[in-house]
Amino acid sequence: MHHNILEIKQLKTYFFTRSGVVKAVDSVNFGIRRGESLCLVGESGCGKTATALSILRLIDSPPGKIIDGEIRYHDEDLLRCSGKRLRQIRGHGIAMIFQDPQSSLNPVFTVGDQIAEQIRMHLKLKRRPTMERTLHLMEQVGIPRARERMKDYPHQFSGGMRQRIMIAAALSCGPEILIADEPTTALDTTIKEQILDIFRDLKQQREMSILFITHDLGTVAGIADRIVVMYGGRIAEVGTVYDIFDQPKHPYTHGLIDCLPDISARSDRLTSIPGMIPSLIDPPDGCIFSPRCPRSMMVCRQKRPKEVIVSKEHLVACHLYS
């Protein structure tokens, strides 16, 4: 049995807005194992980011609130630990990087300062070792002439370089888990590959677990060990990368994979899943995908599907398999 270093159980994160309660994360369960990269996949607004932010309790409150659930990291429940303990875990145990490298660095400090800040804050190193470590990190994420560039400000770097800096800052204290919220979405394709390479190296060298959030299945195929497919704030399917790509069970996963453009088939139009993303304010009874599902049955509109184990690593929440 694999050991999960982070276990998310029955997580519910709601946003209380003027037009109603948005159930952004609705009873989500999954675990992250040591040294694996787990991809959280789904379209915009399906609750990927809300799930990631909930793990570190970074949901802005108000309007958001984690209603229920448990996030078990080692022997602690992150949803119930003290603010002080949480700040120690953030960055040191679990670090996070964000989508937009333009704005995730503070424009008024040099990049070296910003990497060093984490080291000083968590590891309490002296000045020299902090500098050395910062330099080493910057070299590790592939920043040329790191010693000089430490003293540069964020605006003097390109988007890809800035994302590298963010990764260096997140890695500075050697976290066990790195949460990457669409880290390549704002970058162009060649840079994206380079950044993904860094992630692959990290996983191998440091045995770090990575929770990678993306809506791009191409990226997923390149980096994931296992995949969690989310739809409408709920989990649709969990499996290894082979399970999901070769034998997708959930009709939504099917749809997603069918949407990937096929280079061998000549077609003018790209395939898409018919219908609209459901409103998370008043989700339909039963399966949330049922209004768009080509194989929906009577029961789908009445009962919420349970998660069914279809093979060793493969879980699906669909009435077709129960």
């Binding site: 570190l56 970074l58 108000p62 002080k84 700040r87 120690q88 875990i89 953030r90 960055g91 040191h92 670090a95 996070m96 990087i97 964000f98 989508q99 937009d100 704005s103 995730s104 660095l105 503070n106 424009p107 008024v108 400090f109 800040e117 984490q118 000083r120 804050m121 968590h122 590891l123 309490k124 963010m166 800052a169 997140a170 949460i179």
Partner: protein
């Protein structure tokens, strides 16, 4: 495991600053309760001002020489703002050294009353005791009183130099107090949001509608007119505009990802406010400060003009007041402080405009 001590928040510099404040506070307490007069009240203000200026002005400018040079290059392109800066530096020099070189601005000498400035001659009718007649006498300006004297024979140059010191004291110190309060109020309000924001901003609204003038009259009635109180009242009531501006700026900063990013890497609220938000609003704060100094200087002048100023110090407003009474016999008494006031306000405004353009990344100079 690692421990986060709140002491470390904001770095060594804030620690030194808080230490200085504590020491100052301790001396104030000693002064009030134990020993008599270690320092004059203004002395504490000076020490406070110097502490802030060195820790948050000179030191960072020195530490980031490259950035300083960049901003200086941009400010320099505004010809008028350099002129303004030059005038302000001159004024500060005069205010610091001037009183040592000039005569006593309070010395009254009726034999030399209403002497015009050098280069001017006026006719004065003087009652002659011997002949029992009015004589018309020509009085030329003398180098003894290069800017003339007022109706009590006080040397105007000395009075104006003393007035420069008062104006700068009030302008800089009151603005410093106001800006400090305003910045912290604004950033805290924006960062925490929710009820904190509500409470702080409604308090700001109340302060905004509060008639500062009545408060001042009230305080002068209780404690007597004193420059220290005038500075305190202007400073403690004048932060509202800065608070609102800083809040709106910080609101947009708060949603930027670097705030979330540093939270996700374990930064505490205090660290985010002091290390990430305040440095980012600092450029607007400097602009607000520079542009609000002239208002404060004018406010003090207005108070002195209507006689609510500190009567023990000679300020420009006070000279203006004396001058308007003798406008028909000695026009220079009112004109000279008027021109100085005008130039000072203009200089600060020019400098403020220049700094604003230099700090605004959108303006292509």
């Amino acid at each position: 495991m690692m421990r986060q001590t709140s002491r470390k928040v904001g770095g060594k510099r804030n620690l030194i600053f808080i230490g200085t404040l504590l020491v100052l506070g301790l001396i104030v307490l000693l002064d009030i309760y134990l020993v008599d007069r270690i320092l004059e009240p203004m002395g504490y203000f000076y020490l406070f001002f110097v502490a802030v200026a060195v820790l948050y002005g000179v030191y960072p400018l020195h530490a980031n020489r490259r950035l300083t040079r960049y901003y200086w290059e941009r400010t320099k392109r505004h010809r008028l703002s350099v002129l303004g800066l030059a005038f302000i530096i001159l004024l500060v020099a005069v205010a610091l050294i001037g009183p040592l070189l000039t005569q006593d601005p309070t010395r009254v000498n009726f034999d030399e009353k209403n002497v015009p400035p050098v280069g001017f001659t006026i006719q004065q009718s003087v009652y002659d005791l011997d002949t029992d007649k009015f004589l018309v006498r020509e009085i030329p300006g003398t180098y003894q009183h290069p800017l003339g004297t007022d109706d009590k024979g006080r040397d105007l140059l000395a009075m104006l130099v003393s007035g420069a010191r008062v104006s700068l004291q009030v302008g800089l110190l009151a603005t410093l107090i106001a800006i400090l309060i305003g910045t912290i109020m604004g950033v805290v309000s924006a960062y925490f949001g929710g009820w904190v924001d509500q409470v702080l901003m409604r308090f700001t609204d109340i302060m905004m509608t509060f008639p500062f003038f009545i408060l001042l009259v009230f305080i002068i009635f209780i404690f007597g007119p004193s420059l220290v109180f005038i500075i305190l009242v202007i400073g403690l009531t004048g932060w509202t505009g800065a608070a609102r501006l800083v809040r709106s700026e910080a609101l947009s900063l708060r949603t930027r990802e670097f705030v979330m990013a540093s939270r996700s890497l374990g930064a505490s609220d205090a660290r985010i406010v002091f290390r990430h938000l305040i440095p980012n609003v600092l450029s607007s704060v400097i602009v607000i400060a520079t542009l609000s100094i002239p208002g404060v200087i004018l406010a003090e002048a207005a108070l002195s003009f209507i006689g609510l100023g500190d009567p023990t110090v000679t300020s420009w407003g006070m000279i203006l007041n004396a001058g308007q009474r003798s406008l028909d016999t000695a026009w220079w008494v009112a004109v000279e402080p008027g021109i100085l006031l005008f130039l000072t306000v203009l200089a600060f405004n020019f400098l403020g405009d220049g700094i604003r353009d230099a700090f605004d990344p959108r303006s292509q100079l």
